[in-house]
């Protein structure tokens, strides 16, 4: 593109600025994972220590909560992405009866206050005699992530040129083959974006989860519970590690991308 190298540079810097801004409280969180606190609260700096990294799994309930959150996030993301992409494809590509209703339902799911969604799900489960545990949490997480995936995928599908798929068929590809090799790669940005959103929504969800979790504790639930008496630094360490692993994945991805190009 011609012209405006300075503009590009500025935008580039601006983007990094925003990424940094979004991450700034993380810096605080990381810092307090090294706080040598002597009392129960972790809000004033009292010295540097690595001991929380050693004692990372000393609070067994917290460790279990973290594990629960990760499992639930992965499972619900997979389910959401699969059925959400399917719906996104359907609504973006085809004209069929029920489109209006679908649009309305998608909107309704996004606009329902979390509290209301949680409470109404709980009533449903109770009257249906469904025990509340990890499964019901997954159900709830899929419910509120679905709309985000559908909207994101649909935005991508709408512009797909059907001619490409027609061509694939003409060349003898099966329906599934066409999907796998033509359609899926072209909608992949939307699908990936939806997957990341869904994972982030799930692993961080508090309100809805608090209603339908029964006695299964997730990471956010545990943390909110500990706010009253002081969040232990192990939580900071876990957050740091999650963040750290994420950064490593990003770097690995960037390196791989550079190799590919």
């Amino acid at each position: 593109m011609r012209g405006g190298r300075l503009g590009d540079r500025l935008l580039h810097g601006y983007t990094w600025l925003i990424i940094a801004w979004l991450s700034s409280p993380i810096a605080v969180m990381i810092l307090f994972g090294f706080n040598d606190k002597k009392s129960k609260s972790n809000t004033t700096w009292q010295g540097f220590t690595l001991k929380w990294y050693q004692e990372l799994f000393s609070i067994s309930d917290l460790t279990v909560a973290l594990r629960n959150s990760l499992v639930i996030a992965v499972v619900s993301t997979v389910i959401t992405v699969v059925i959400g992409t399917m719906l996104g494809l359907a609504v973006g590509r085809y004209r069929f009866r029920g489109q209006g209703t679908t649009n309305f339902l998608v909107f309704a799911a996004i606009s329902t206050p979390e509290l209301v969604m949680g409470a109404s799900l709980l009533s449903l489960f109770v009257s249906g005699n469904v025990p509340r545990d990890g499964t019901t949490i997954i159900v709830a997480h899929v419910l509120f992530s679905l709309s985000f995936v559908v909207v994101t995928v649909r935005a991508r599908v709408i512009v797909l040129d059907p001619a490409l798929e027609e061509a694939a068929r003409d060349l003898g590809a099966t329906a599934w083959g066409t999907f796998r090799q033509v359609t899926l790669p072209s909608i992949m940005p939307g699908v990936l974006a939806g997957a990341m959103l869904s994972f982030a929504l799930s692993i961080d969800d508090y309100v809805v989860t608090s209603f339908v979790n029964g006695s299964t504790i997730t990471f956010p639930l545990w943390i909110v519970g500990s706010v009253k008496t002081g969040i232990p630094p192990q939580v900071n360490v876990m957050g740091t590690l999650i963040f750290g692993i994420g950064v490593l994945i990003a770097i690995a991805n960037a390196v791989a991308a550079r190799r590919r190009s």
Binding site: G3, G4, A90, T102, S120, L146, D204, P220, I231, G239
Partner: protein, 283 residues
């Protein structure tokens, strides 16, 4: 079989939404028209007065929430659009990396993030304390417990939901269209304004939908960062439901909120000039 394809594709999601969204919603609608309390029981009385009472009592918080939601959405649009633009056009092979980095902080619990913000924004903390000691800020200055903190918190917490859809829309803009604009002697500004921006509008609409709605309904930011005059409708619904066990009022308020949001989105879509509101949400 071809004709059945869309229905088959849509079926799993439809069933999920039907069972877990529609049924509870209808039940909740029913509750919103009942009277009573948790101890003595509720009875269906078709009290539409639940709605009028609730709206009358809490109109301030309702309007305030719409205002905060709108302010935050505009802020997110202004802040987020350039980021989406840059990643879509200049991100190259590392686009998904940038997106991932944008979302990464949200993989860490919101409680931790918000508490860290309280720490950073403390009146006499690292940031403001230093500025105050340099005399740059008056001693009375504070951000926490103000409207600014709440709107700022909303903006911060929902920003990726604005950036992502705009990115998705921009990413599919064919660069050749922009080249064509330049070939026709358009300046960068004009090319943006008349070619890129209109093409990105469906993404903007999706972004607004995914941010304005949850931001308006959010109770958390007001709870943690707000002061005495910042209570939002989400807080009211939370108290009504959890503390007062006033399920009819809570349900009535929830439906009112949803209806208001629907109207708001509809008005916005009309202003945008889109033909079919809800279909536009798809784009």
């Amino acid at each position: 079989m071809r004709r059945l394809t869309p229905y088959l594709l849509a079926l799993p999601s439809w069933m999920w939404l039907a069972i877990f969204l529609v049924v509870p919603m209808v039940a909740m609608a029913s509750v919103s028209l009942q009277t009573g309390n948790a101890i003595d029981g509720f009875a269906m009385t078709f009290s539409f007065s639940n709605y009028t009472d609730a709206i009358g009592t809490y109109s301030t918080q309702l309007l305030r929430s719409l205002l905060y939601g709108a302010l935050a959405t505009v802020a997110m649009l202004v802040i987020g659009y350039p980021v989406a633009y840059w990643i879509a056009f200049k991100g190259g092979t590392r686009k998904s990396v940038y997106l991932f980095l944008l979302l990464l902080p949200f993989f860490v619990s919101f409680v931790l993030r918000t508490i860290s913000w309280s720490f950073l924004l403390a009146d006499n903390g690292v940031l403001f304390g230093t500025l105050k000691s340099w005399g740059v800020l008056p001693a009375e200055f504070h951000v926490l417990a103000t409207t600014l903190a709440v709107v700022g918190g909303l903006t911060y917490n929902f920003l990726p939901f604005m950036i992502l859809p705009i990115y998705v829309a921009l990413e599919r803009v064919d660069p050749r269209v922009i080249e064509a604009a330049y070939d026709l002697y358009a300046s960068r500004g004009a090319a943006f304004r008349r070619v890129v921006l209109p093409l990105s509008l469906p993404g903007v609409f999706a972004g607004v939908l995914m941010t304005f709605v949850p931001a308006t309904a959010d109770p958390v930011n007001a709870q943690i960062l707000g002061g005495t005059a910042n209570t939002m409708i989400g807080n009211i619904i939370q108290t009504a439901y959890l503390t007062n066990l006033d399920y009819p009022t809570a349900s009535a308020l929830s439906f009112t909120l949803m209806a208001v949001l629907l109207v708001g989105i509809f008005v916005y879509a009309r202003a945008l000039g889109t033909e079919n509101v809800l279909e536009a949400a798809a784009r």
